[in-house]
């Protein structure tokens, strides 16, 4: 918050200027004008929303409607195809590949959200104490989130992809065999999840740091006088006090994980044998590699519906939590 102080001082400067500029008749004039001001305000507000609404309708809204049409047709990227009702949905909902992708998405999301939260919160707590060079570590630890996924996935590939890569070679030298991180289905799934946690923990660290900054230090002093252990202080004071921001960060990360494409696709392209195919990767492959637009868009559409329902519910809940 401190970095926002300097503009606030300019603000007060402006305020003083505005006050000085008040003419003697200013106040009366404002009162007379207030009604026209209100309708004028409404007009201005609408005008200010126009660019946003236009983009929303054309680039966000229209494709959704069109996706609905595609999902009920058996077309391709070039041909619109014929209306087939809900056949595409029936096809996917009865296919193993879809449920396989749904299951991996669930695992990926749960590990991604709670893994990155645990690491992020732990680091945020550690960085809250007095450590020499704390500011530098804070910036350095954000790098995994700042560096483009294309770049970091390249590095991860180099580290683990083949049996002769550094990581398997290192484990081999330690007598642990040479694990095929991206060729074994289970190991590949684990590797992708670990990669996601590595990419996302800085986000959680930032969210947690922000939340922790608002926790009053004197509470801990009082608690330690009362004889509360470190662990008790954490579960009884820290966690309840950062509950709401934590909740928000979980929601955001859930959305990030469910919608994630590059983290998975760049590391494994969904393989081996679909072991790391999430719903988004599945939809992408169905449309752009199998050229089956209908089922692919239907998958995306199902995800969309689920996310709309879930996010509307969560939105309500956050608002309620805010009112309390």
């Amino acid at each position: 918050m401190t970095e926002w102080v300097s503009p606030m001082t300019t603000l007060t400067g402006n305020l003083a200027k505005a006050r000085r500029g008040l003419s003697p008749g200013g106040r009366g004039g404002a009162r007379v004008r207030s009604r026209t001001l209100k309708s004028q305000t409404r007009f201005t507000f609408s005008a200010m929303l126009i660019p946003s609404v236009v983009l929303l309708v054309l680039i966000n809204g229209y494709p959704l409607v069109y996706a609905g049409i595609q999902a009920t047709h058996n077309g391709s990227l070039i041909e619109p195809g014929d209306f087939v009702g809900l056949d595409n949905f029936a096809t996917i909902l009865t296919s193993d590949a879809f449920w396989n992708a749904a299951r991996f998405t669930l695992v990926f999301t749960v590990v991604g959200v709670f893994g990155s939260w645990a690491v992020g919160l732990a680091l945020a707590l550690l960085l809250r104490t007095t450590i020499p060079g704390r500011g530098i570590f804070k910036v350095l630890l954000l790098l995994p989130w700042i560096v483009p996924i294309v770049v970091s996935s390249t590095a991860w590939n180099w580290l683990v992809a083949t049996p002769d890569s550094p990581m398997p070679a290192l484990l081999g030298a330690l007598g642990l065999g040479k694990p095929l991180f991206l060729a074994d289905p289970t190991l590949a799934a684990i590797t992708v999840c670990v990669f996601k946690v590595w990419v996302s923990f800085p986000f959680m660290m930032m969210m947690s740091s922000g939340a922790l900054a608002s926790v009053d230090d004197t509470l801990y002093e009082a608690a330690s006088i009362d004889g509360a252990s470190r662990y008790q202080q954490f579960t009884q004071i820290t966690l309840p006090l950062i509950a709401r921001p934590t909740y928000i960060s979980w929601i955001l990360m859930t959305v990030f994980c469910v919608n994630d494409f590059p983290t998975i696709y760049l590391l494994t392209t969904g393989g081996p044998v679909d072991a790391t195919t999430s719903l988004v990767v599945y939809a992408y492959r169905t449309v752009f590699q199998d050229f089956r637009t209908g089922p692919g868009v239907a998958v995306a559409f199902l995800m969309t519906l689920t996310l709309v329902l879930v996010s509307t519910m969560l939105y309500r809940q956050i608002r309620r939590a805010h009112v309390e």
């Binding site: 494709p63 020499p132 483009p148």
Partner: protein, 283 residues
């Protein structure tokens, strides 16, 4: 150093406290070192000579190859143009909309806020397929213009919230003073609110920058010809060759990660991620 010692002296249990501090330093140093291995790998491989190279020690031969023999310069230009236009447009669209969200207290405004919330949670793959077909009709499919439009739309929801969250922190009384002075609502938005919102604007700009600079999916779907590639697709295209030349890949990767890292390190203090959460809860 003396400051540290002074503070340590003033607290009880000095020696223990000081030792704990250095233990934590060692711990965080180790964690950071391990976590940054992949990033160090990128930098190292880009400056270490390749297998067929005659030079020893550090070398810039990979950079020379990438800039001289590939389309890297074109890709960098493409990425820069797309990203800069996205940043400018995203702020230009999100700032006024965020202002309305921050100041307007009507049902319609709340509904619009909810709509934005839903939109940002939708998988981009849903809209990418229809947009690809739509843009193909207008010749925008394999083009940077089309890509930029999609990026602006994709950043809009979060950018609008970030702006709204910042505007919330600017007192309305300031504007009232400006209105009495005879400024219109839009005039006071431009001259009073926006002029004092540099941190908010920067925050939003960094967000839009990161999104469009790092995007892979939209570019993968839209861009077909290699002269139109942005950097992510360019880096990936090196992998499609039969044997991967790691030195060149990493050299281009270094080029790609420099701008976001530099911008973030320089403007880090302005970027408030928790603002997103706050605005989420506030409306």
């Amino acid at each position: 150093m003396s400051a540290v010692v002074n503070r340590a002296v003033s607290t009880p249990g000095t020696a223990r406290e000081l030792r704990g501090r250095w233990w934590r330093f060692a711990l965080i140093l180790l964690i950071t070192a391990v976590l940054l291995v992949p990033i160090a790998v990128v930098v190292l491989l880009s400056i270490l000579p390749g297998a067929s190279s005659t030079s020893s020690g550090f070398t810039f031969e990979h950079f020379g190859y990438v800039f001289g023999q590939t389309l890297a310069v074109t890709w960098i230009q493409n990425s820069l143009i797309t990203t800069l236009v996205t940043v400018v447009l995203a702020v230009a669209v999100a700032a006024p909309a965020g202002y309305v969200l921050s100041r307007g207290r009507s049902r319609a405004v709340s509904a619009y806020s909810l709509l934005l919330f839903i939109l940002q949670s939708l998988p981009i793959i849903t809209s990418v397929v229809p947009l690809f077909i739509l843009f193909a009709d207008f010749g925008l499919a394999d083009s940077l213009v089309g890509l930029t439009i999609v990026y602006v739309a994709a950043t809009m929801a979060v950018a609008t919230w970030m702006m709204a969250a910042y505007f919330d922190s600017i007192p309305v009384s300031l504007e009232e003073a400006a209105w009495i002075d005879g400024l219109s609502v839009f005039g006071s938005f431009l001259r009073v609110v926006l002029r004092n919102s540099l941190p908010g604007v920067l925050s939003t700009a960094i967000f839009a920058f990161l999104l469009s600079w790092n995007d892979y999916l939209v570019a993968l779907v839209f861009l077909r010809s290699d002269v139109n590639f942005t950097l992510p697709i360019g880096v990936q295209s090196f992998f499609q060759q039969s044997s991967i030349d790691w030195g060149s890949v990493m050299a281009l990767a270094v080029v790609m990660m420099l701008p976001p890292v530099l911008i973030f390190v320089a403007l880090n203090k302005y970027f408030s991620i928790s603002g997103i959460g706050g605005s989420l809860a506030g409306r």
